[in-house]
């Protein structure tokens, strides 16, 4: 392994993902360094969200392992797993906010479970977290009473409640207008810069990918494995894989035919 492996906060090793006998992706090996903004990209149905669910420990791998700071998640005891999970903040594709709780209660839940703040301190922290995502004063609203973009930001407030080391986002800006999407990117970047968190996200939004990501993996649906890995800006211009260049330029680089892409994918 190169020197990145030493500082890797997440290492994926020979991961094979399958539902029953149906293999979705095989032989995934990559590292995510501390402080990276890492993007999982690929066409629809290639297994991006499934990879994220594996990283979150929601699905067990068919083969291979995922290491957090060198420690295997799937071999760890329940107690160690809980300790690892406590360092994560996650937003789900449709927000994952508890619809029967107000925004404040949503953010309070992890704080009450895992910190020893007093009730009044928790109230202050919640006010701060909601202010951070631009939702100051929305404490007593229910998720159903606010807009989709606000729900995405409220989910972010819950994800950062515990000041996590690793933030996982599943399509954070899907369904947002370009301006809201840009603001959300800026927000993620600001929070990442100020807290030093590592960000792992699944996204299709090219502007987001180029604006904030410094590392990425491309999962190919046809060959069912990763075909390139690195800085997305660099991959756009220099990837050996035509598919990757096409993806990153919205299909406008058609210099090579699909057949070339297929053959090079098997190299």
């Amino acid at each position: 392994m190169d020197k990145r492996a030493d500082e890797a906060i997440i290492s994926v090793r020979d991961l094979t993902m399958a539902y029953g006998s149906f293999v979705i992706q095989r032989d995934l090996t990559f590292d995510i360094a501390r402080g990276d903004i890492f993007v999982i990209m690929g066409g629809s149905g290639c297994g991006k969200s499934t990879l994220l669910k594996h990283m979150l420990g929601l699905i067990s791998p068919a083969q291979g392992d995922i290491l957090f700071s060198g420690q295997s998640f799937f071999l760890a005891s329940d107690k160690d797993r809980d300790a690892m999970r406590r360092r994560w903040g996650i937003t789900y594709q449709s927000g994952g906010l508890f619809s029967a709780m107000t925004l404040a209660e949503n953010v309070i839940l992890p704080l009450e479970l895992y910190t020893d703040y007093s009730a009044s301190e928790i109230e202050d922290i919640v006010a701060y977290k909601l202010a951070l995502v631009g939702l100051a004063g929305y404490q007593d609203y229910y998720p159903s009473a606010i807009s989709g973009g606000m729900r995405k930001r409220a989910a972010l407030a819950r994800a950062i409640a515990l000041d996590p080391e690793i933030l996982f986002f599943d399509e954070p800006s899907a369904g947002l207008d370009p301006i809201s999407s840009r603001l959300l990117d800026d927000l993620i970047l600001e929070i990442k810069d100020s807290t030093g968190a590592t960000v792992v996200m699944v996204t299709h939004e090219l502007p987001s990918i180029f604006a904030i990501a410094n590392n990425a993996v491309y999962l190919d649906a046809a060959t069912r494995t990763m075909i390139d890995y690195g800085d997305p800006g660099y991959l756009r211009d220099n990837s050996k894989q035509a598919v990757v260049r096409q993806f990153l330029t919205r299909g406008s680089s058609r210099a090579e035919t699909n057949e070339d892409a297929e053959s090079s994918a098997h190299e």
């Binding site: 029967a100 301190e121 202050d124 100051a136 000041d163 600001e190």
Partner: protein, 376 residues
């Protein structure tokens, strides 16, 4: 931890300027610093400018930011100019981010307090609203039925078989249990009284008529209200939450025709069959108890056959069709009018079962009175 405890010191430099120095590690678990202490100190002075200095900070996390945000909000409220200096870069950025958007001043609509919720007038009003809704929904269902009979409806009959299976054969186990037990209960109850006149053998008549006219169909309906009525409410409520019902409506299809009719018809088809099955098992249950009291199976069968009249059987079957309609309407209405959250789907399922059971009992009483009047 070797970090110094979190602390602050407020100095009123002159009439207009105050300086707040933060020191130590402001991290989770540090000796908590209460903002109220600071705000009362601030009230004492006449400052119009507060400068917060973070040079002596040794560590920080959300605890610090939450405190700073309170300072900021307080200063803004009191018209004091708020300045920060010498803060770690990250903390400064986060504070800027947190104060970028004006807080919302408007509170959401207050929830009903439990006193209002228990007010009999309010309860009555809610009941009336629900009854109106049910009537309107029954109207919609009737219109949809007419359209279906005339062949103009978009009813999805592919689901019909599935609903019949879910509502019928899958319910046989629990129906067997309840009806056998109810038959036994009726027999015990009757036998204890009839023994006083030495007329134990009439237990068979009592069980047969009781099960056919009343208990068989009522118990089946109660089980189906809990099983199928609640399932319908949960299915349709989840579809409402997922915007599936919106999708159906915008495709120009009536959700009542598309979703409610197949469920309603399935229940109307299986309920009489389930009732027949429950009747049979109920009478067998009665027979078991009678056997324990010295009545031979042959005697029991003879007596039961004597009591078995077509009108008793038909009375039960008529009830079963009416009950099926009521259960389906209560369940589907609760589901379609459900709110769009997980809690609302739960409420819809509860409401479906509760209204269905109330309807069942009221309808049963009404039908019995009518049958009594017409000597059926």
């Amino acid at each position: 931890m070797s970090d110094a405890p979190a602390g602050f010191e407020l100095i009123h430099c002159n009439d207009t300027d105050a300086k707040l120095t933060l020191s130590g590690a402001w991290v989770q678990g540090c000796a908590a610093q209460d903002f109220n202490t600071l705000s009362s100190q601030l009230q004492l002075g006449t400052s119009t400018r507060l400068t917060v200095d973070g040079a002596a900070l040794e560590g920080w996390d959300s605890t610090l930011l939450a405190f700073l945000l309170q300072c900021y909000d307080h200063c803004k409220q009191e018209g004091i100019t708020f300045d920060t200096r010498n803060f770690p870069e990250g903390a400064g950025k986060l504070l800027a981010l947190a104060t970028a958007v004006e807080p919302l001043k408007q509170d959401p609509e207050p929830e009903q307090s439990w006193l209002t919720a228990l007010n009999p007038l309010v309860l009555l009003k809610n009941a009336v609203t629900r009854l109106k809704e049910s009537l309107a929904f029954t109207g919609e269902v009737s219109i949809a039925l007419v359209r279906m009979v005339t062949g103009r409806s978009n009813t999805r009959f592919q689901d019909f078989r599935q609903f019949c299976f879910e509502g019928g054969p899958s319910a046989l186990g629990i129906i067997s249990l309840t009806s056998v037990l109810v038959g036994m209960i009726l027999a015990y109850l009757g036998a204890a009284q009839l023994q006083q006149f030495g007329a134990e053998v009439y237990v068979a008549n009592l069980v047969t008529i009781g099960i056919l006219r009343e208990m068989g169909v009522l118990m089946t309906a109660v089980v189906m209200a809990g099983r199928t009525g609640a399932a319908y409410a949960a299915q349709l409520g989840t579809m409402q939450t997922n915007e599936e019902i919106d999708a159906i409506t915008t495709l120009g299809i009536s959700p009542v025709e598309f979703l409610v009719l197949p469920r309603l018809l399935a229940l109307v088809c299986v309920m009489p069959l389930l009732t027949l099955y429950a009747n049979l098992l109920g009478i067998i249950g009665g027979g078991i108890v009678a056997g324990g009291m010295g009545i031979t199976p042959l005697q029991f069968l003879n007596q039961a056959e004597e009591a078995l009249a077509v009108n008793h059987l038909v009375a039960g079957l008529i009830k079963s069709v009416i009950f099926a309609l009521l259960i389906a309407v209560a369940g589907c209405r609760a589901g379609i009018n459900s709110g769009r959250s997980s809690a609302a789907v739960g409420q819809a399922a509860t409401e479906a079962v509760v209204t269905a059971i109330v309807y069942l009992i009221v309808a049963d009483a009404a039908i019995n009175i009518i049958f009594q009047q017409i000597n059926f």
